[in-house]
């Protein structure tokens, strides 16, 4: 017996004349995420993408890979059968049995696009219902509120049998690359990987910038961020991460500026460096993991002062979320366990004892004038290296 995956997409369906373009983008992303050695063929028809796996590949593993691609609402495993009623009933009900293990009631809906098929839809439904009941004695039919909805589709060349109890939920969202490019400031913490995930989910193509402060931060801390980026890449596909050594800058800020302004000036400098990298790569916005009020540098005053350091649009998808909500997403997307590994990150190297929580731009600019901002930004850019991130 052959099995295929039926992929339904979400928001794309609302697109008008552009829909074809979005669909092709999605199919391209699915192919990239799964790899050529997993997918034998892809077809689209009536808002459904049909995927045939390569011989010998575990269909569940393929579904899991694909389920991370943005733009997909759901994925269903379906059995493919010869268009012979006895075969469909016998083999089809046998195929469905494992998917019915955790349900109590079901209903069958049949559909035939081949009107020459000798049975009509109500007949197929009734016969299939009987076949399933004879395999799974514990089941009952419930046409109003079934636990599982079984479908039999008679197509031109073959028949598909599947149950919505075999559905894997997709991530939703829009295909990556359908909504421009933006640059994520990524640390080793919980928030920034989630912020990257959320913007990519809206179709943004990511690139990332990470700041390190050796020897205050270790090689392992950098590896941790690379590993976080690789987890994000499972959803977004590969991207480039720029690594900016930032120790001298942090020391210069520490040695020249008032202690209570250290963090905010550091963040402004990071934004300026990231903006330059972004512009070089035709990226259209910056993304941060800031959440209003979470720490001293994320009060509404501090955010305004940080924001004033760049002309670029700054996307802050976590701005209105509680830490607990952010953690929930981090757990779901698989970054949490890596994020909480205890390595120092560069934002926590020099933390003022009493950071200012209501900074005024004039005061910060005055403190900042004590260092040669342009020189340090330029130096950071010159020292920057890049790493290509691919999902593992």
């Amino acid at each position: 017996m052959r099995e295929i995956l039926l992929v339904k997409y979400g928001e794309i369906i609302l697109k008008g004349l552009n829909r074809n373009k979005f669909e092709d983008m999605l199919i391209g992303n699915i192919r990239r995420a799964a790899g050529d050695e997993w997918i034998a063929s892809v077809k689209k028809s009536q808002a459904i993408i049909y995927i045939t796996p390569c011989e010998g590949r575990d269909i569940d593993a393929l579904a899991t890979r694909i389920s991370k691609v943005f733009g997909i609402a759901s994925i269903t495993r379906a059995g493919v059968f010869e268009k012979d009623m006895d075969t469909i009933l016998e083999k089809g009900s046998e195929y469905l049995a494992p998917f019915m293990a955790n349900v109590k009631t079901f209903k069958v809906e049949a559909k035939r696009s081949d009107k020459k098929f000798p049975y009509n839809s109500p007949e197929i439904s009734r016969l299939m219902g009987g076949a399933i009941l004879s395999k799974c004695h514990y089941l009952k039919v419930n046409v109003n509120e079934p636990d599982a909805l079984v479908r039999v589709e008679i197509r031109d060349n073959e028949a598909y049998v599947f149950s919505d109890s075999a559905v894997i939920k997709g991530q939703g969202g829009m295909p990556v690359r359908s909504n421009g490019r933006a640059t994520l400031l990524i640390s080793g913490g919980i928030d920034s990987p989630v912020a990257g995930y959320m913007m990519a989910k809206r179709g943004v193509e990511l690139e990332a910038v990470h700041f390190t402060s050796p020897p205050y931060t270790s090689e392992l801390a950098k590896e941790k961020v690379v590993n976080l980026a690789k987890i994000i890449a499972q959803y977004t596909g590969g991207f480039t991460m720029y690594v900016v050594p930032f120790t001298e800058q942090q020391l210069a800020i520490r040695d020249n500026c008032p202690e209570e302004h250290l963090t905010i000036i550091m963040r402004r400098m990071m934004m300026k460096v990231t903006e330059k990298i972004a512009k070089r790569n035709k990226s259209m916005a910056l993304i941060t993991g800031e959440s209003l009020g979470q720490v001293a540098s994320q009060t509404i005053e501090a955010l305004s002062v940080t924001n004033a350091s760049t002309e670029m649009n700054v996307l802050r998808p976590l701005i209105g979320m509680d830490k607990e909500e952010i953690i929930q997403i981090a757990r779901r997307i698989g970054t949490f366990e890596t994020s909480i590994l205890p390595y120092e990150d560069c934002c926590t190297v020099f933390v003022p004892k009493h950071p200012t929580t209501r900074p005024k731009i004039e005061n910060i600019l005055k403190s900042e004038s004590k260092l040669d901002m342009d020189y340090w930004v330029e130096k950071a850019l010159n020292d920057t290296e890049w790493i290509r991130i691919e999902a593992e």
Partner: protein
Amino acid sequence: MIYLDNSATTQIAPEVIETMRECMENSWGNPSSTHAVGRAAAKLIKDARKTVADYLKCLPEEIYFTSGGTESDNIAVLGAANIKKGKKIVTTMVEHDAVVKVMTHLENSGFEIVRIAPEADGSIDPHKVIEAVDDKTCLVSVMHVNNETGAIFDIECIANGAKMKNPRVLVHTDAVQSFGHIETNPYKMGVDMMSISSHKIHGPKGVGVLFIKKGINDLKKSVFGGGQEKDIRPGTENTFGIAGFAKAVELIDQNENERIKSLRDKMKTELLALGRVHYNGCENASDYILNLSFEGVRSEVMLNALDSKGICVSSASACAGGKHKSYVLAAMKAKFADNAIRFSFSRYTTENEVDATIAAVKEVIKLFRR
């Protein structure tokens, strides 16, 4: 690359590699097989057993090959923890995790564990250990050399004293950090069991020894299988590892100790002279381990900075935010535990390397001390 983390593991000796290669090519049989191929492997293990026994000055039948220090410790402690003989076990707060965690396990299953605290200099007062032993005590387990500070514990005194108070008590020592560096004669020390490991003396990983004194044959079993190593540690023998370990034992050169001592002294003197540097340890310490705290430079900063200069050392508190502080330094109530760095030497360590390390440390302090 300058490698001063020999307490973690050592570089494998070229002669050991050669011995193991030869063994993999020619003596790959199962020592339990009775045919020629099996007999050749059995002979190799017999020879290795004799080599280790000769070095320890004990009998070959007292040598049990294991998978390393952790397994030796587990077999020894679990074997001797016999609730019928007494539910009390005396140990210290500064043992290796292999002993610490098995003690916690025993505590959870009804044993009373007495953990002796170290003095401020990291030494263990043997009399405190002896004092804790009573007629309910079934086991005393104290390490020979502490892996973080290099402090040498007076096992001879502990073993004699403990047995005077309770002749039935068994004494185990984890000698992983002393074997090959200072004398480890189990009879002289008066211990019943001793754990040693191969990879700390330029041998391969995955092999070690548990010495069990002749006549002790009522240890509780913790590993079950096909009867190898007199059923103390069943499982097909790691012949390559055992051959390599024996070669590493042959290569031990006690004459090196003087040289290592002078390197350690030099580093200790020159670094302490920098000021605001603190020695974590006692006078009676292994020549192979030096633990210093550099006030004003956190452990991980020193570690990362030296790493970037190609110098490998280790920090006692390897993790950020002090989440995983060294329990050894904590038990000593060391004031600068967050600033501790362990340098550990081997016979491959040269004076040039020590000089370069001293210079690098000075530079790091100059740049990053606050």
